[in-house]
Amino acid sequence: MATTTLSPRARAVRSSVAMKALMAVTGLIMIGFLLMHMYGNLKVFLGAEAFDHYAHWLKGDILYPLIPSGWFIWIFRAFMLAAIVLHAASAVHLWRKANAARGSSYVTTNRLQQSYAARTMRWGGVILVGFLVFHLLQFTAQVIKTGWNSGAGPYEMFVVSFQQWWLVLAYALWMVAVCMHIRHGFWSAAATLGANTSLASRRVWNGLAYCVAVLLYVGFMIAPLAVLFGVVK
């Protein structure tokens, strides 16, 4: 039994419950971002001009003249990076504590409840970060050029990339991992923040989690598929 001189409140602030709340809030922020990102991607169906104009606006004068032109994107990036770092840091902290608390493993295990999505949250999260780095190097930093030349606009990058079947396949698999993470994560965030109030609400939150995951999968994959099959050129 650990002894401590901290007050109960100080220990409660440092408890796994409080850290889980941080993880839930940062996770929900990222789901919000993904919904917005998905909406932006769908503008590819409106043509090159609309898509490039939207992409330009994101890096341009949002909230200008309240803040200088071009600052919003950097403030937003810092905010998202903070959310990711806090989410990952709390995950690592809780993962290590859970491993220690698990004790020795059973000879026989009979899983009654857990879904594949729930069981793969931790290693799945690590894989997500790996692909996110590739994604940012590809479309944001434009270090990894998948078929386009320097100076290509956002629309051109999008279309040229997803005319290659293996990139569409890679993103389709990545999105499976993302949406599985969200399938358990959305429900888990709701439960962690105290929104699971009954057996019925448990079903509702799990249903909503499936809806968000499926919406994101369809919304994100429809544009690359449209490019691959020549609907968008």
Binding site: M1, R11, L94, R102, N110, L112, Q113, A191
Partner: protein
């Protein structure tokens, strides 16, 4: 019935143990699982082998003393979808000729004492950290002197059915005792008698839960699936709500 038992044997104080295989003949299907273990121990005693140590007391499913992991499920359930305590599990739930694995609760917060017996005093210390109410002693108060709504009393009673057996910890992939702690928090938070210490209670009990080395909840639901008293998973959400609320209260600063 003829049964092949594979039982975890671990000497007192030994850091590790292992599975031992025992053949059981003429097991009655009407025996409870613990009576079958009694039969095994009689057989072992006659053969001059140290009997298997296991916890048990009321054998009526109400005390929370018994509990082993049977074929990977805390308390075991055979083919039944209904969770139960080990003492209320009967051999008719198993097929003749079956091989049954019997293991102790495994969790960092529940060190093995011997064979199938684990040390669950961590639960007592979580209760000591706030799972009580302060009332005057003396004669019992008049019935209905403190009105409680039907909804709240039902919720409190559902939570109070927790017998503290520890199956939730045994089933949790994170070794978390959140279902146990949340049942105690919910039980007292719903009742007028629990209000004076409501906010300090949740802070103290959660702090003690973590200090005992129990893990964190990932809302997977294995705990509620094995709970013999069917404490629902939403009680953990209730605890989360109570704790976040309590962090903005002055009690137990």
């Amino acid at each position: 019935m003829n049964i092949t038992l594979r039982v975890w044997r671990q000497a007192h104080g030994a850091p590790k143990g292992g599975m031992q295989t025992y053949q059981m003949q003429d097991v009655s299907p009407d025996m409870s699982f613990l009576e079958m273990l009694d039969l095994l121990n009689e057989k072992l005693t006659v053969e001059g082998i140290e009997p298997v140590a296991f916890d048990h007391d009321c054998r009526e499913g109400i005390c929370g003393m018994c509990g082993v992991v049977i074929d990977g499920s805390a308390h075991g359930r055979g083919a039944s979808p209904v969770p139960t305590t080990t003492c209320q599990l009967h051999m008719r739930s198993f097929a003749d000729g079956a091989t049954i694995d019997v293991e102790p609760w495994r969790a960092g917060g529940f060190p093995v004492i011997k064979d199938l017996v684990v040390d669950r005093t961590a639960f007592d210390r979580i209760i000591q950290a706030g799972g009580f109410i302060s009332v005057n002693t003396g004669s019992a108060p008049d019935a209905n002197a403190a009105p409680v709504s039907k909804v709240d009393s039902d919720r409190a009673f559902d939570a109070a059915t927790c017998i503290g057996c520890g199956a939730c910890v045994a089933a949790c992939p994170n070794g978390s005792a959140m279902l146990f702690t949340s049942a105690k928090i919910t039980h007292l938070a719903m009742l007028p008698q629990g209000q004076p210490e409501r906010w300090s209670r949740v802070k103290g009990m959660v702090a003690q839960h973590d200090a005992e080395g129990f893990g964190n909840c990932t809302n997977i639901g294995e705990c509620a699936a094995v709970c013999p008293k069917e404490i629902p998973l939403d009680m953990i959400s209730e605890l989360n709500r109570e704790l976040m609320h309590a962090l903005f209260k002055k009690d137990a600063k």
